[in-house]
């Protein structure tokens, strides 16, 4: 697992620095100098790491979390990532004002198996902090639905 993570990372860095260097070729000298000077060595460092991983026979052991079996750890990691992506989806689809209390409530109720009262109380408390501070006091723009908000993003 350890070396698989490293393989994924260094391959990604290879792709990014390789593609970046190719893209930089067309630029004027002053714009491309730094991207080239950094990008090319970066590509080879990442390539060295990839070669290292592929050539080494014994994969390195992961040290931490001795008390949790790898299978459970993997399942829980995916669960955590799922909750995080779920929050992103609900923010985008429903907007912060609804997503914030909903997420806190659902997490406490489903993941934490807390009672109704505690779940609702903490959800409301978080919402109160959110609404009072970020909405009323700081006037951050929190778009309501997803249709409004994709304007200007990757356009």
């Amino acid at each position: 697992m350890h070396s698989r993570s490293s393989l994924a990372l260094s391959l990604a860095v290879m792709v990014a620095s390789g593609a970046g260097t190719l893209a930089a070729l067309d630029w004027p000298l002053k714009a491309k100098l730094f991207p080239m000077v950094i990008g090319i060595p970066l590509f080879f460092l990442a390539a060295a790491e990839v070669a290292w991983i592929l050539l080494s026979k014994t994969p390195e052991e992961k040290t931490a979390q001795a008390e949790i079996s790898p299978a459970i750890a993997r399942r829980r990691s995916l669960l955590g990532a799922g909750w995080i992506l779920g929050l992103l989806a609900s923010v985008v689809l429903l907007g912060f004002p609804i997503a914030v209390p909903l997420f806190v409530f659902l997490y406490l109720k489903l993941q934490g198996r807390e009672g109704w009262v505690i779940s609702i109380a903490i959800a409301l408390g978080t919402w109160g902090l959110f609404y009072g501070l970020f909405d009323r006091l700081l006037h951050l723009p929190f778009p309501a639905g997803w249709l409004l908000s994709w304007v200007g993003f990757f356009s």
Partner: protein, 500 residues
């Protein structure tokens, strides 16, 4: 001069000024604790309130608020692994690791004490610099700024694990950071680099969403995986050891002072940005390891990795005030806003602040000192309560922290793209932790890349090759070489000892 020093103190101790300072501390306390809600933004929002204040009152309010933010930002970083401020991320590495080992109290004790010492040293530097401030700041030109960035980047070597493999990984991380710094329109030819035609990326990648993703997201997933409280099962019921943390700072007194000086120096440099200070200090702290085993302990809860960044983060504020006061040229974003405060009050920063208005300048020094003392005392009183949060079952904290992380990153540009950046770097951070890559070099590269590029171009355009022979450039070059070679020296020394 002594008279002005005393006048400055008396001015701050006036009832009105003092109460405004307390108010500022109260606001700053919360701003620091909440991730993402930055000190600079808050300063901008508070500016309108200073219209009807006297200069000393206004600065007691603004500076009081500002000096506290770094201190309480450290608390969030240490307790929850979430950067409370962009400038307090470095303390996470060892601070949060200590918390996970059940040593939250000791980590906080060290962080707060070193913050206080750092702030005092920064304030002292500001006061002492008064007679020499102009030549001091003017002797640092673009070539020196470039070399300082190089020194910063040289710390990548110290921040990597020892051995060739560790170095390769460290430099991949550092190179990636530098590469990310290139995103956005370049200031030489005006080319939009790596923006994929997106408006969001056209002004470069912001630090806050990256930091939050890189550090907070992996820790949240880790907390889900462990399924326990942050402090885990090691927690003995009542958290103690704050005093131990205080003692740690004095045991490593010389290191604390050195890191404070690094912070002050970075603060004085206009355009270096506050985020650089902590990382350079952290890099320096790792150099104090005497054996490979000790070095490997950094990142797993070495107290020196807490007190170094803690000191630098607060000492940089005194330093940042120096160019602001003496030239009307702000050393950081917050200082730029503070400068707006000067104008509002009818003060024109510049040489006069060192002569006619000297007592105002000294009142700022005193505000920094008093605000920090008050905050640290306050925090020590609350410390046990705060630390107890880490013994709560994880599922209480996870949703609240996650929501705050999302909002915090969203406040950067009020764009959902901020959230996407956070999650992308969350994934990168997660992989880096699993694969054993150091995250610090990535951050250093990101914060220093632009500075290195721009100031190199300026140096060459302005001085051709002659800049290489400037005395400070040579000194900094020697320092950079020393910093790069130091890990090898550490290794050699350790081997020699082992043989002996």
């Amino acid at each position: 001069m002594l008279e002005a020093l005393l006048q400055g103190l008396l001015a701050v101790l006036q009832v009105k000024a003092f109460s405004f300072m307390l108010l500022g501390i109260l606001v700053g306390f919360w701003v620091g604790l909440l991730p993402g809600l930055g000190g600079a933004t808050t300063l901008a929002l508070m500016l309108p309130f200073v219209y009807n204040m006297q200069p000393v009152e206004a600065f007691a309010f603004l500076l009081g608020m500002h000096s506290v933010v770094a201190t309480t930002g450290d608390i969030t970083s240490v307790l929850f692994g979430v950067p409370g401020e962009a400038t307090t991320a470095a303390i996470i590495l060892d601070g949060y690791a200590m918390t996970k080992n059940g040593q939250a109290g000791r980590a906080l004790g060290a962080a707060l004490t070193s913050s206080l010492i750092g702030a005092l040293i920064g304030a002292a530097a500001l006061a002492l610099a008064v007679p020499i401030v102009r030549p001091l700041v003017l002797s640092f030109g673009s070539p020196e700024l470039f070399m300082l960035a190089v020194v910063g980047l040289a710390f990548i070597a110290s921040l990597s694990a020892q051995g060739v493999r560790g170095m390769v990984r460290g430099f991949i991380a550092g190179g990636l950071g530098l590469y990310l710094a290139m995103v956005g329109q370049d200031p030489q030819a005006g080319v939009a680099r790596f923006t994929f035609d997106s408006l969001y990326l056209s002004q470069g990648i912001d630090l806050v969403p990256v930091l939050v993703g890189l550090f907070a997201i992996p820790e949240i997933i880790d907390l889900v995986v462990r399924g326990s409280s942050i402090a885990g099962t090691t927690n003995p019921g009542r958290i103690q050891g704050a005093l131990e943390g205080v003692k740690d700072v004095f045991r490593n007194g010389w290191l604390t002072i050195r890191c404070s000086l690094i912070g002050t120096l970075v603060g004085i440099m206009p355009g270096m940005g506050g985020a650089v200070a902590q990382w350079m200090a952290y890099g320096h702290a790792t150099q104090s390891a005497r054996s490979p085993e000790e070095r490997a302990g950094f990142g797993n809860g070495d107290v020196r990795g807490v007190l170094g960044p803690g000191a630098a983060c607060n000492s940089k504020e005194g330093g940042a005030l120096i160019p602001t006061v003496a030239f009307g040229v702000p050393g950081s974003t917050s200082m730029a806003i503070l400068l707006g405060g000067f104008f509002l009050l009818g003060l024109v920063p510049g040489p006069e602040m060192l002569t006619t208005h000297l007592s105002v300048t000294f009142s700022m020094v005193w505000t920094i000192v008093l605000a920090n003392v008050i905050t640290v005392v306050l925090c020590f009183l609350l410390l046990n309560r705060l630390a107890r949060l880490t013994t709560l079952p994880g599922h209480f904290l996870i949703p609240v922290i996650l929501v705050l992380v999302f909002i915090g990153s969203y406040t950067t540009n009020s764009s959902y793209a901020d959230l996407v950046v956070t999650l992308v770097f969350g994934a990168v951070g997660y992989l880096m932790v699993r694969a054993g890559y150091p995250r610090a070099p990535l951050v250093l590269g990101l914060v220093l890349g632009k500075i290195a590029e721009n100031y190199l171009y300026i140096s060459v355009a302005r001085y051709d090759a002659a800049w290489l022979l400037r005395p400070f450039v040579l000194v900094l070059l020697a320092v950079a070489v020393g910093v790069v070679l130091y890990p090898f020296f550490q290794l050699w020394r350790a081997r020699k000892r082992a043989r002996a």
